[in-house]
């Protein structure tokens, strides 16, 4: 019997491997994963927004605005540098530096200190001296805004003509065409109206920064007019609370850690689902071909229906495992090639799936899930005469299977103990997905063993009923598989 099962499985594997769709699907995931970051970095618009400032009030206001946005950029750089140092334990580079102090929201004074000590370049030199091998380089983001000088033509225009000229600049094809123009009138601050011309909807962060800077400036002037000296007014304006920040180190926060730990388990559940859908549809195609090409009778003269069914399941399982092996290999190569960030991320991500017991459990639930669900595809293939007829039965099965898995993944990402997760763990159809996905959250051993045992019983029962359905359906061409007929075939004994 086993020999025939292996022969059928081998033929199934060869048939699927001969399909172009198999190779396309096999390669599409690694290619997508490889191209994804490239596309993302291409699509990410990290170019600074170009801003033209026209300050007819003397130039101090424009300078204050520029200083404000530069300070914001430096604060962001300081924060990123601090997280980098914290993640890779690099505090020894300069224990007194502001960027090794991770417990605060950086104030203007911190930024001034950072600049005074040489800024990011000086910090990176110190870090380089202590940075171990394998720690990736620090990558800073571009500043958010770049300020360009106004053309002389724009400087001389007033009213509507100024607006039209600004619009013309926005519409020009030049690479350095500005995206915003800010006009500060000659009567500022008596007339505090500021003109903001923008190529698109203005960025709220920019508007908010602009407003805060100008508000501070106006209030300082107002305080001075009430007899308070400029220095005192400035001190009042710059009075800010020192916000102490307590945050877990990168990857160490409860939710962040949970997400990292759940990456591999969720990927396993997702890959199981993906490869099942793909190999299931190929197996279905093979079954439909056997029926529509009328070669079942020739086969059944040589082998038992059960051997045919088991061979198909084994063939599908082998193809599915092959796909996963290739995808896993690609992921391994990517991790090895990139080392640094990815390997640093993968280490904690692999932690929940690295013990021998868990690896065995993964293999068991993976294979059991494959058999459980592939058998349904094979049964559908045995009942229908064409792929279009098969689609009609396949859609409800796929939807019924996938929707709860989608909710399951969302519940796991939310990191909450959910009744849905518990429920799906105990329903054999979703047990493999639920158990695999829960490995990151943590699943009790007894739950895993009991759910696995229940799954094994469900597969045995399924094999009995689907075996009957398969056997009874094989030679019945031209009969619509109505619910009544399907139920009859579930009960059918060998005729």
């Amino acid at each position: 019997m086993m020999n025939n099962v292996l022969l059928v499985a081998k033929r199934e594997i060869r048939q699927i491997l001969a399909m172009k769709s198999f190779w396309l699907t096999l390669l599409i995931l690694p290619v997508a994963l490889a191209l994804g970051p490239i596309f993302t970095s291409t699509l990410d618009d990290d170019e600074p927004s170009r801003v033209v400032m026209v300050d007819r009030s003397g130039g101090d206001v424009a300078a204050a605005i520029k200083a404000r946005f530069m300070a914001d950029d430096d604060r962001a750089t300081l924060r990123r540098l601090s997280r980098y140092v914290q993640r890779y334990d690099l505090e020894e580079a300069d224990p007194q530096a502001v960027w090794t102090q991770h417990d605060r929201w950086y104030t203007d004074a911190d930024i001034a200190t950072f600049r005074a000590s040489g800024g990011v370049d000086s910090a990176l030199e110190k870090i380089a001296a202590v940075k171990p091998d394998g720690v990736p380089e620090f990558e800073d983001d571009n500043p958010r805004y770049t300020f360009m000088p106004a053309t002389s033509q724009l400087q001389g225009l007033q009213g509507e003509e100024f607006g039209q000229a600004a619009q013309a600049l926005f519409d020009s094809d030049a690479d350095d065409a500005p995206e915003m123009v800010v006009l500060i009138g000659e009567n500022y601050p008596e007339n505090p109206e500021i003109g903001l011309f923008s190529a698109n909807q203005p960025n709220p962060v920019f508007v908010s920064g602009l407003q805060e800077t100008l508000t501070g400036d106006l209030r300082t002037r107002l305080l001075a007019s009430r007899g308070i000296t400029g220095a005192e007014a400035a001190a009042i304006q710059s009075a800010v609370p020192a916000i102490a920040v307590s945050t877990p180190p990168p990857g160490g926060g409860a939710r962040e850690a949970l997400l990292v730990r759940s990456i591999v388990p969720l990927a396993l559940a997702y890959i199981l689902m993906m490869s099942l859908m793909l190999t299931g549809s190929w197996m279905l195609q093979g079954s439909v071909e056997e029926r529509s090409n009328k070669l079942l009778e020739s086969l059944l003269a040589c082998i038992r229906p059960e051997e045919l069914m088991y061979g198909k399941l084994l063939g599908g399982l082998a193809v599915g495992l092959l796909m996963i092996l290739v995808w896993g290999g690609c992921a391994g190569i990517a991790a090895y090639a990139t080392q640094g960030v990815i390997s640093d991320l993968i280490r904690p991500a692999l932690e929940p799936v690295s013990s021998p017991g868990i690896i065995l459990a993964i293999l068991y639930f993976f294979i059991a899930g494959y058999i459980l669900i592939s058998a349904m595809f094979v049964a559908i293939g045995a009942m229908v005469d064409s792929m279009s007829e098969a689609q009609g039965y396949l859609m409800p099965v796929i939807l019924g299977l996938l929707l709860p898995i989608t909710f399951l993944i969302q519940a796991i990402l939310a990191g909450k103990d959910s009744m849905l997760i518990d429920l799906l763990t105990w329903i054999p159809l979703w047990t493999p997905f639920a158990v695999l996905a829960r490995l990151g959250l943590g699943i009790e051993t007894w739950v895993m063993i009991a759910a696995g045992a229940l799954l094994a019983v469900a597969i045995l029962v399924e094999m009995i009923f689907i075996g009957r359905l398969f056997r009874a359906s094989l030679l019945t061409t031209g009969q619509k598989p109505t619910l009544k007929r399907v139920l009859e075939r579930f009960r059918a004994q060998p005729q």
């Binding site: 025939n4 022969l7 033929r11 048939q15 001969a18 071909e289 056997e290 529509s292 090409n293 009328k294 070669l295 009778e297 020739s298 086969l299 059944l300 003269a301 040589c302 082998i303 038992r304 051997e307 030679l475 060998p494 005729q495």
Partner: protein, 307 residues
């Protein structure tokens, strides 16, 4: 030696009696014709012999045992509805079926190539079935049935869809299998093939056996007829059912169409004429064809029913 023995076989599908108390046997080297109209139960019987379906009652002995897939190694089967994997090459298809019948890959390949050579398809051994004509694909399927040199070869409507050249090739394969000692059973609607090939025949009607025996024995089931020219009236002879004159008599000689009573051999009437001094100028016996026998025994039975 009996290769296949069927005894009191009954198969019922719900309320339909497909095979009704059928018994027959087929010996080594014998070519056995399985004749009957559509829905007579031929395919159902063959499926029971192959253990694809199980009988309601009765027994089947194939190659000395009950039907079982383990006997597939010694059985060749060509179903009525034919088809192969379109993406598989001719030789791989034959090897696959050979392997399913327990052959080693090497033996299956050698035998498969020999068969393709014989069927003038050696040059297309590596062609996909989907790229072949229907006739070529049918020959490949015949090769899948013959690859294991079966002791029992069962062919269900093997001539349907074949052109005259390939029908001749198939006839030669059937005779060759029989000559090497295989029992061959084939069902057919084409009586000429059965007449030419079969050692014995079985006629089925609505699942029930109407006749089993040789062609001569089958002919004996129909009243004989003949055309004779005589100077005497032939209708008075004992054993003659009717003798009707054809045309006008000429110089006292009359042509008769003579229908004999059932079971009466023409030779006995000829002998009677000779001994009784009845002058005869012409004596043409007309032998019943298998077609006549089939129509007589099976008649106009449900020709559109499924089996």
């Amino acid at each position: 030696m009996s290769v296949l023995q069927v005894s009191n076989l009954v198969k019922r599908f719900d309320n339909v009696l497909a095979v009704d108390d059928l018994s027959f046997s087929v010996s080594q080297g014998e070519i056995f014709g399985f004749l009957g109209g559509n829905g007579a139960g031929k395919t159902t019987t063959l499926r029971m012999v192959l253990d694809i379906i199980r009988p309601t009652s009765g027994s089947i002995t194939v190659l000395g045992g009950a039907p079982d897939r383990r006997q597939a190694n010694a059985i060749g089967f060509l179903p009525e509805e034919r088809g192969l994997y379109s993406g598989m090459s001719a030789i791989d298809t034959i090897i696959y079926f050979g392997r399913l019948k327990g052959m080693s890959p090497g033996d299956a390949r050698r035998r498969g190539m020999a068969l393709l050579e014989r069927f003038d398809l050696a040059g297309r051994a590596k062609s996909d079935i989907g790229d072949m004509s229907k006739g070529m694909a049918q020959k490949v399927q015949l090769a899948t049935a013959l690859v294991n040199d079966p002791q029992l070869l069962m062919l269900d409507e093997p001539f349907s869809g074949l052109d005259p050249v390939n029908q001749g090739l198939l006839e030669a394969e059937i005779l060759s299998a029989s000559q090497r000692g295989a029992a061959v059973i084939f069902s057919t609607h084409v009586m000429q093939h059965a007449e030419r090939l079969c050692d014995r025949l079985l006629l089925l009607r609505k699942g029930r056996k109407r006749f089993e025996g040789t062609l001569e024995e089958a002919r004996g089931q129909l009243p004989a007829s003949l055309v004779a020219v005589s100077s005497s009236d032939l209708s008075d002879i004992a054993g003659v059912h009717s003798a009707s004159a054809i045309g006008e008599a000429s110089d006292g000689w009359q042509e008769y169409r003579v229908q004999l009573a059932p079971g009466i051999a023409p030779e006995s009437i000829l002998e009677h004429c000779s001994t009784s001094g009845i002058a005869l100028r012409r004596w043409d016996e007309r032998r019943a064809s298998l077609h006549d026998i089939f129509v007589h025994m099976v008649g106009e039975e449900g020709s559109n029913n499924d089996e």
